[in-house]
């Protein structure tokens, strides 16, 4: 049992790394994608839109396989699996975050920009001090949902043989002919998402002071 827990923690370590690395890159990159999606230049808009549609319209598991095997078949180049995994997750999650950011930005009242302009704020000041804090509050619940999904989606990395939590649980399970490892892994996922939900809850409550 102790050994099992130890193995699962090692798997958990991979899951957590996928989780944080994905967020680290996709949260900011999603913003770049959102900007592209709202670009004044039509081709930029089309390309980012196509990218978003593909990322949201095809299964993540398929994208994982694609990002790992395509370079291999096309260029006969192989590269680190873990890198392929992170690349796939980042590109996938950026598309989802981009759409959340875009809807948040577009729901901002035009009057906030106009009041800022009349008062003499620069564009950058307006964005960082007036628009961003309000958009942040508005999109927080949707971002929270996406992050909860990401916790569960890390298990898909097992398709590329990454020894993350789910894969470890699955292999131990078949080795010891028991569902216990699967069950314990489930508890791990549950706890992670409990923490994620709590985190968003706290932040949302901190921002409750205004409407």
């Amino acid at each position: 049992m102790a050994n099992l827990i130890f193995q699962l923690f090692k798997g958990l370590n991979f899951s957590v790394r996928i989780f944080f690395l994905t967020l680290l890159f996709s949260l900011p990159f999603g913003f770049v994608v959102a900007k592209g999606r709202m670009s004044k230049i039509a081709p930029v808009r089309w390309i980012t839109d196509l990218y978003i549609q593909i990322m949201r319209g095809t299964p993540l598991i398929l994208q994982l396989l694609f990002f790992y095997f395509a370079p291999f078949y096309i260029f006969h180049a192989s590269y680190d699996r873990f890198f392929a995994v992170i690349l796939a997750y980042v590109l996938n999650y950026s598309a989802y975050f981009a759409e959340i950011y875009r809807s948040g930005l577009q729901s901002m009242d035009k009057g906030q920009y106009e009041a800022s302009q009349v008062l003499g704020f620069t564009k950058a000041y307006t964005f960082f001090h007036v628009i961003l804090p309000q958009v942040f509050k508005k999109i927080l619940p949707s971002v929270g949902n996406e992050v909860v999904t990401l916790v569960k989606d890390t298990s898909l990395a097992s398709t590329l043989g990454i020894a993350e939590l789910f894969r470890v649980a699955q292999t131990s399970s078949s080795r010891v002919f028991s569902t216990t490892p699967i069950f314990v892994a489930g508890v791990f996922y549950f706890i992670m998402n409990y923490l994620v939900a709590k985190f968003f809850d706290v932040v949302e409550r901190k921002l409750d002071y205004y409407e």
């Binding site: 106009e114 009349v118 804090p133 205004y210």
Partner: protein, 254 residues
């Protein structure tokens, strides 16, 4: 010393193929209050937005506080450089119909933010100024509140304080009471009347005919993108020359 605060000549503006302002010319003296009245869609807001640089004019010329914002060159409005535009932007303030307060800032911060970020005043100075204005608006006890906790009339008074904190030389109002209940309308109009007594130069787009008639030095009636009639408010209301103005005023008396 130039006492003409606004000198607008032949201003034109179209959105696509619709001509919204056709040929707007008027002047306003320092310390005067000008009311602009007119039916919906006549171009009143568009005019204010050009004067406050939220829109750009297509043609014509405009001087604010004696300095050009744009001049007519070959039938086109050519704007001054960014430094001049910014200088004039700081000399004008605008109060919106729907307040546009910053919901994530306290009342106090709504009034101090631009003082600090734009005018580079220090915290104490900005707050002292804000508190003075809040007292004047009878809202000193609301400094720590958030906009969502205020009534419409209170919000509008905060937004007036926010504009005044920047020490504008001309203050524009676009239907400042149209989003308010009648009782709240009165408290806001009282504040604007108080500013008029202090000789603040103001342009007020309004549907409050009593205010336009009783509290302004000049009035201007717009319809279809042109100034149909302008002059002394008492004259304009009691003795309208133009048929269109007469019909417009009748809709209020009915």
């Amino acid at each position: 010393m130039n006492d003409i605060m606004i000198n607008a000549k032949n201003i034109m503006k179209s959105f696509g193929s619709t001509e919204v302002l056709k040929d707007i010319s008027f002047t306003l003296e320092k310390g005067h209050v000008l009311s602009i009245i007119g039916p919906s869609g006549s171009g009143k807001s568009t005019l204010l937005r050009i004067l406050t640089q939220l829109e750009t004019a297509d043609a014509g010329s405009l001087e604010l506080v004696g300095k050009p914002l744009f001049t007519n060159v070959d039938g086109k409005a050519v704007y001054e450089n960014i430094a001049q535009r910014r200088e004039l932007n700081l000399k004008t303030g605008l109060v919106f119909q729907n307040f546009n307060l910053f919901p994530h800032f306290s009342v106090l911060r709504n009034i101090t933010e631009a003082q600090r970020a734009v005018l580079k005043r220090d915290k104490d100075e900005a707050e002292a100024k804000a508190m003075d204005l809040l007292k004047k608006m009878n809202l000193a006890d609301k400094a720590k509140s958030y906009p969502c906790e205020l009534s419409g009339g209170q919000k509008q008074r905060v937004s007036i304080a926010r504009a005044l904190a920047m020490d504008p030389e001309i203050l524009f109002f676009d239907e400042p009471t149209s989003a308010l209940d009648p009782e709240l309308t009165l408290e806001v109009l009282k504040v604007i009347r108080g500013l008029a007594e202090e000789k603040m130069t103001m342009v007020v787009v309004t549907h409050e005919m009593n205010f336009a008639k009783g509290s302004s030095d000049e009035a201007l009636f717009m319809d279809g993108g042109v100034i149909v009639e302008k002059g002394n408010p008492t004259e304009l209301f009691d003795n309208p020359k133009e048929e269109r103005l007469r019909r417009f005023l009748n809709t209020f008396n009915a």
